[in-house]
């Protein structure tokens, strides 16, 4: 079972120091590159149309979310059209929200590419990840976490994903 380890442990004078505050501030985040779905990329290619460039940022692992979400501005940049409607629980009762397909790649990690058939479109504008260069553009919910083993080591400032 492949394993990915994420460390919030800055090197100081050649030795690695645990940095639990880094993980507490940033949360369990992964670098992510969001791309158009394969079916759409193939259709654009066969029509000699330009495939939109992937959008890079970070994805936060959110065990509280039953469904993964993507920033709506990313979807607009990619030109992906709506494919569904999800009922999302709110304080005022369930509300209908748009869903979209997308492909997630995780550069610099050994985590395989994930094809989402339905992601919730969300407003994540202006959400930056402390200590990281790049915006927060996605939430990874339990729809994908059901395939992973996740270990959150707060005292050591690390988290581990096995898949």
């Amino acid at each position: 079972m492949p394993i990915y380890n994420s460390f919030h442990q800055p090197q100081r004078g050649g030795s690695v120091q645990p940095f639990p505050a880094g993980l507490q501030l940033a949360g369990p985040v992964l670098p992510v590159q969001i791309e158009v779905p394969v079916a759409l990329a193939n259709q654009l290619q066969s029509a000699n149309q330009t495939i939109p460039n992937p959008v890079s940022g970070f994805a936060l692992i959110d065990t509280g979310a039953s469904m993964s979400a993507v920033d709506i501005t990313v979807i607009q940049q990619l030109g992906v059209q709506q494919v569904g409607i999800a009922n999302v629980g709110t304080a005022g009762g369930p509300q209908k929200q748009a869903t979209y397909p997308a492909r997630f790649a995780f550069p610099g990690t050994n985590i395989p590419t994930i094809d989402f058939s339905q992601l919730l479109g969300a407003n994540l504008a202006g959400q930056n990840v402390p200590g990281q260069q790049g915006p927060l553009i996605a939430l990874l919910g339990r729809d994908i976490l059901q395939h992973f083993v996740l270990v959150y080591n707060g005292p050591l400032g690390t988290f581990t994903i096995a898949f």
């Binding site: 079916a39 709506q82 494919v83 999800a86 009922n87 304080a91 919730l120 939430l139």
Partner: protein, 82 residues
Amino acid sequence: MALDTELRYFESIKGELLQHHEGKYALVIGTDLVGVFDHSEEAYKAGIEQRGNVPMLIKRVSKDDPVETIPAMTLGLVRANL
């Protein structure tokens, strides 16, 4: 809301779909049931190939509609600091 037409059409044929296709995924564009598929990905591929990059409703044929919960978004707490 986008896909209102598709959602209303899906609800109008849901009873019939439940009889023969429960657990599968219906693809609806406008008031046209394009097809029923085993997987959501297959439905999207068929929609793209047959109609292009247009809004489409891909919906699981099920008696119940699940309610998704995303507290961080619902409560606006993705980044909350004291």
